[in-house]
Symmetry: C2
Amino acid sequence: MALNTTCSFTLPGWLEPFVAGWDAPLASAEQRMALAVALAAENVKHHTGGPFGAIVIEEHSNRLLGVGVNLVTAVELSMAHAEMVAVSLAQGASGHWNLGAGKEVQLVTSCEPCAMCFGAVPWSGVRSIVWGACREDAEAAGFDEGDKPADWQESLERRGITTRGGVLRREAARVLARYASRSGAIYHPENSRGES
Amino acid sequence: MALNTTCSFTLPGWLEPFVAGWDAPLASAEQRMALAVALAAENVKHHTGGPFGAIVIEEHSNRLLGVGVNLVTAVELSMAHAEMVAVSLAQGASGHWNLGAGKEVQLVTSCEPCAMCFGAVPWSGVRSIVWGACREDAEAAGFDEGDKPADWQESLERRGITTRGGVLRREAARVLARYASRSGAIYHPENSRGES
């Protein structure tokens, strides 16, 4: 059998016009989170993946470098969490794996990062991370956040990465709860709800 | 500025013929590790990335589902560790994000998984993971493994994922040490050696 040698994923078609039409400012953490949460909600509405959205933004210019939504079921890649998608697209756009080369870049995600995304943050070069919903909100909706070190937030801080959680938490958690109430796929190997 | 909407990466050209020419059996953990370590060594030799290789293999048939090498600097994606590449390509080949759907799949990696790859393992559906070099070997060569839970190996076992480390450790560690002795790029945001 020939080996598969290329991996590729693309954002759903609704996303680019949606972001282009987003004319609210992106200066504060709350304003940035409003976009990340809106992306999560739109992703559910369009049935293109799980209830998670993320953006990568240049701190001082407020310039969007990358956006992402959860695409696990849409593109059949378990790593395609919103954070990984946003970071990878930002790296593609900037032409460099290190987003911290010469600029201060922030990752804003609608939900606390899972174990994989937590581990990916220091490798990406982002200098700060902001999240909305917390682990408890994700777990209440049936999601598994994985096993992070007990001091995961301090671990990022020790590496010079600023952390701030619970920004627009209620709004972000509402997207998760709404998804769960509609029995959306929980894409987890142990949970057949993800097999649709 | 238009958003980047597609992310794509491709294995280096040497890899497919190299694997096609690998005619040793892949039945035991040691035989599988020999290929993962050889991929790591070839990746260094061809200057296509860091000294890490991985394969995803169907347990009972010994069929290769995916192969990967570290491509961080080659494709400018911080997530492109050998394990993530091999798992993503295997998922692309099988058409499903869940590699555990109906089969027993093993991830064999030349080095203990970093924090990101550890977190990614449970989401991928693999049922077992085997690694060669250990954290200490990677750190001795200048690599940062990230912060995993103290009981990360037990964490995988609790999730039903079998773990076995140190397989062909000496051979795997030798590839890391050789890379370090030649001042290969350490692609880490805090380390300018990665900026070449």
